[in-house]
Symmetry: C2
Subunit: 660 residues, 2 copies
């Protein structure tokens, strides 16, 4: 089950990597296609090296911190935070690239949708956000199926195509007839073009890091299973990538960055994706199998986009743990935190899609940069890690030394290759939008470092600086704020009495004479065992008269801790929050500015609050990846429990069933 | 001092009313200008009647509720809420119209600004929002000056112009040479055009209602002073309106809805406003006095826009008092409530300016509808009021009967005339954008009625239904949530101890082993007099383990009221709220869903919170109008007071200076 969850991201990149590789080569003319087997081979070698490198990384850091943890531990704070920023950018671009590629493949099958390319892409992102806001269990079969179907259908296609080629009935792509203008290039330009083609082919590597970030989600032995899954995934990715590239060359696929440069092609029509052309050539345009390939490709790409919605909050919680992001992000199971994160991710992805008009090629260049920034820093960190290990391992432990030496060789190779790719992509694409990534990463890094510094400052400010900590404030008074005599107020009085403060006083701020008179009458009628104090407020203020009363009380009775009881409504609809508690909340904020005041919120559950329990039961994104499937399901713990006889009456009504 | 505060809105309308009146007439051709004295006279009569009507209204309802209170008391709930909706729309359009007119007059003096008309208007609204967010004292001299200067400069201009006319040296407007195409109109069309011109001239009446809404702000005897001010304001408005219209006719001003219809005018240039043309004709284009007139006109218009920012929150608090708006709006002195209201008002006004491209004529039509909806319903309500009075007053009280009879005559006249104008504007302008107002008013009305129904439902839900209210929950336990042993946690423990609960337990949710170990060590070192309970949380959850603990505790110790102490940071910068308390706040929300739990927030003031005191000292919009000038200044009451020796140590540090 682990394979489909983690592999969709990495495997789906096979759907666009061969296309990007061949497309860049064809910029130089058809003759450049002779280079393609060698460049594809280089990509395959790099993919193998990176997979091997990550197997080493999992071995050394099985906690799931991935490149961020490696960079932070071995290279220091700033490289670690840079990796984190790059990963944040990656998640945004994973969504944008996968959705754009998915839409391309849908349009390749259904050309009539071409005018709504950008709208479709934005629509899919909105759909993903909505689905994830609603809550979705990732580990279900529905998520496993498309990945297996994708591997199966593309595998069958590659085998069928290659067999047909071997027996002399080679499939011919519909674009094989189109010509491509040969560009007269200098030797330097040729080298640059080959490098760019290689860099574009490297998009096949995106998503490989996902398994290293999700080790805790595997069954024990976790590291071992994760490494096995990674190896299997690497082999499948290499096979599919090599097979698709070969088949595309055999069937003579032409794919141009600007379709109008294809001689003979009517460039008002959409250019079918490479995978669609190969599928049409192999199975026949319009055949059932052609549609199966396109559908599973689109599905697996959308699934890859969906994984970003799970990874984003997980990364946020790791960053929060280390103090680089607001601490609230570290709370597992907080729906609001997750919702905000997902909406943010969705907005960022939609912005990227709109700015670049869902253009896959441009988005991929940005994507590769982010991915290779984290690859490179992770690999360099791993080299440092092995160096340190080698210093620590005694000479006689030959087996351990051999493992470490082997790891160092693999990771050094990985580091050199990923840095080279990063430099190539940066050089060739800086002016084509890549500068955005180089702007975003430092900005995010600065923000994160700033957050961390702030938390450290607060830590210093609140540190206990005195060895002789003494407790013992004296003079305790409870003020229950009462607007009218209704159930929430009665409950607040009941709770204040239960806490047995030295003094308990009910306080009413009189802004409407009629209300005040009614309250006084009710007070007498119900024999409330607490004195009622009415504070005049000629200017409809609440905080100021209360503050004056507290000051006066202290003047008479000496220093005291004041606890103010505020009834609080718990509501079920979002819009009800506009109608309740806002005054109480603001009042609490004001009162907390007075020295020696604490505020006690006494909840009153309105009928609509029942809706909250249902909402708490939905799965949260990343639940599956974090390695637990809601064993701690909140609904069973937080709901008022009718079966639990010792917790008192089933309804929270203090006035109904308790004896005096 | 009351005149400039309340009169800027009403007097500033003189700056656009004559222009709109003449402009509509000229649609029919220059010959129609012969009707203009009669139409202007009708406007003057209507203005006089409305002023007299409002003097009656103040007499009958001196509490400052204005048309809303009259309609609600005499006509029922729905008409009252309709008036309130109309007033809300009015405030938005007061801002839009006044700013648009102000910009027109600035451009009339500085034509180079013409290309940025809309941007300038939006910029002024943003400026007004910013100034009011910052806090501004309305009663200062800076606010009085422009109104007096406007009255003075326009008055001098009218007198100068009329004297020049009398002595035969009549001023000639620059546009007097331009021709206007005569439209061949049917008799019906002529009548309609005259009615439209009258309706447009009625924009002179906007703002008259302001004094009736602000009676409490006057010095006693309030009603008497308010009525006097209203009379003075009415006389000034009538004089300026009549004078400006006469002068415009005398000097031959041509003003067209579409400037390209002016024969001989280069309509790529901006059309100077009527007041600018008259000023140029009287004092000479480019003279100092011309600029004085334009500057004071623009100033008084912006001042009128500013009054909406004061009236808006006041209306909100009246609606909140009656249950038609969120109750939080009824809190005087809550900066956040006011800020939200002003930002909303600003956004709505900017939207109106953008949609109608800051076009004064269109905006004025919308504006008149809203104003006359509230005029009409208010006047009809007053007629009902007098009818009821007459039934109640005994026959022999002849003086009182005479007053009531006189009131009924005046208000009946006012009601008939305002309804006629409303019908005219509606008929002539419905398709030109006025439908928007007729959409907005019912939507707002429905929302308000819905809010009221909701509050009534909650009232029923929380009403005490049992005659035998009994207090006496037993078994009280306090849980202090401790993350690390720092000052805020120590303060929370100290407060929990001061309240002397039956049992006090410190609870730590263990998500990071290192932190837990550190806490345990600190606990021992400082001899904290409270047992520490560590709850395991393998999935980084907070609410669920706490809920489980509370359930378990109750199972063992029986029913009990649980008070959970949460340390809370008080911060000074808005961005700090993203870094603090969000987890605690969400946790509090979760815990309050458990039966029998109350949450006590123990504040810890970070150094930055000092900024809050400064902010609380700024004046709030509407302070002056509500009739008090911060006598209850919050800063002196809420700040920790160093001079108050009995309130304990000046800094809120519980560990430093109190004996055990």
């Amino acid at each position: 089950m682990a394979l489909p969850i983690f592999a969709s991201d990495a495997l789906s990149s096979v759907a666009y990597a061969p296309q990007e590789l061949l497309m860049i080569l064809m910029l130089g003319g058809l003759s450049f296609l002779t280079f393609s087997p060698w460049i594809a081979l280089a990509v395959v070698v790099l993919l193998a090296v990176v997979v091997l490198s990550y197997r080493q990384l999992i071995l050394a850091y099985p906690s799931g911190g991935g490149d961020y943890e490696v960079a932070r531990t071995n290279l220091g704070e700033i490289p670690g935070v840079v990796v984190a920023s790059a990963l944040l950018v990656d998640y945004i671009l994973t969504v944008a690239v996968s959705v754009a590629a998915g839409v391309d493949n849908i349009i390749s099958a259904l050309a009539v949708l071409n005018p709504w390319r950008v709208e479709l892409a934005v629509g899919f992102v909105v759909l993903l956000v909505a689905v994830n806001l609603r809550g979705v269990r990732e580990a279900s079969r529905a998520f496993a199926l498309p990945t297996y179907l994708f591997i199966g259908s593309v595998g069958v296609m590659v085998v069928t195509g290659l067999v047909r080629w071997a027996v002399g009935d080679s499939p011919v792509a519909s674009s094989a007839q189109f010509g491509v203008e040969s560009a007269g290039l200098t030797q330097v330009a040729v080298v640059l073009l080959l490098l760019r083609a290689f860099a574009s082919g490297c998009s096949a590597l995106t998503g490989v890091e996902a398994i290293a970030n999700g080790v805790p989600a595997f069954r024990p032995p976790q590291a071992r299973n994760a490494r096995t899954t990674l190896a299997i995934m690497g082999l499948i990715a290499i096979s599919l990538f090599a097979g698709l590239t070969t088949l595309a060359l055999v069937s003579g696929v032409r794919y141009a960055e600007d379709p109008c440069e294809l001689i003979g092609f009517d460039c008002t029509l959409p250019q079918p994706s490479l995978i669609a052309q190969v599928a049409a050539a192999t199975f026949g345009m319009g055949s059932v199998l052609f549609y199966v390939v396109q559908a599973t490709t689109a599905c697996v790409l959308l699934l890859a986009a969906n994984t970003a919605f799970n990874g984003f909050p997980l990364l946020g919680s790791v960053l929060a743990r280390d103090g680089y992001a607001p601490k609230s992000l570290n709370t597992r199971g907080d729906r609001l935190v997750y919702s905000n994160g997902m909406v943010l991710l969705g907005i960022a992805a939609i912005t990227a899609l709109l700015v670049f008009q869902a253009d896959l090629t441009t988005l991929i260049q940005l994507y590769i940069i982010g991915v290779f920034v984290s690859f490179s820093l992770g690999q360099i960190g791993m080299v440092r890690h092995w160096n340190r290990e080698l210093r620590l391992i005694p000479r006689q432990a030959t087996l351990e030394r051999r493992i470490a030496l082997r790891g160092r060789v693999i990771n050094s190779l990985g580091a050199v290759m990923t840095v080279v790719v990063l430099v190539i992509v940066t050089v060739t694409k800086f002016t084509h939008g890549a500068w955005l990534v180089f702007l975003a990463i430092p900005v995010l890094t600065t923000l994160m470092i700033g957050v961390r510094r702030y938390y450290l400052d607060v830590e210093v400010e609140t540190a206990i600086d005195d060895d002789s900590v003494r407790f013992g404030s004296r003079g305790d008074v409870a003020l229950v704020l009462v607007g009218a005599f209704h159930k929430p107020a009665a409950k607040a009085i009941d709770y204040a009495l239960a806490a047995q403060h030295d003094t308990t006083i009910a306080v009413h701020v009189a802004v409407t004479p009629r209300e005040t008179a009614q309250l006084a009458a009710d007070w007498e009628e119900h024999h409330v065992p607490v004195p009622l104090m009415v504070l005049e407020s000629p200017y409809r203020q609440y905080a100021a008269p209360l503050a004056a009363f507290i000051r006066e009380y202290r003047r008479r009775h000496g220093s005291s801790v004041v606890t103010i009881y505020l009834p609080q409504y718990i509501v079920g609809h979002w819009w009800e929050t506009f109608l309740h508690n806002r005054r109480a909340r603001r009042l609490a904020q004001r009162l907390m500015l007075i020295h020696g005041v604490a505020v006690t919120l006494v909840p009153w559950l309105l009928d609509s609050s029942r809706l909250l329990y249902g909402r708490a039961a939905r799965p949260m994104p990343g639940d599956d990846r974090a390695g637990h499937a809601a064993e701690y399901g909140l609904v069973t713990h937080l709901a008022p429990e009718a079966d639990d006889a010792t917790t008192g009456p089933p309804t929270p009504d203090p006035t109904a069933s308790r004896p005096a």
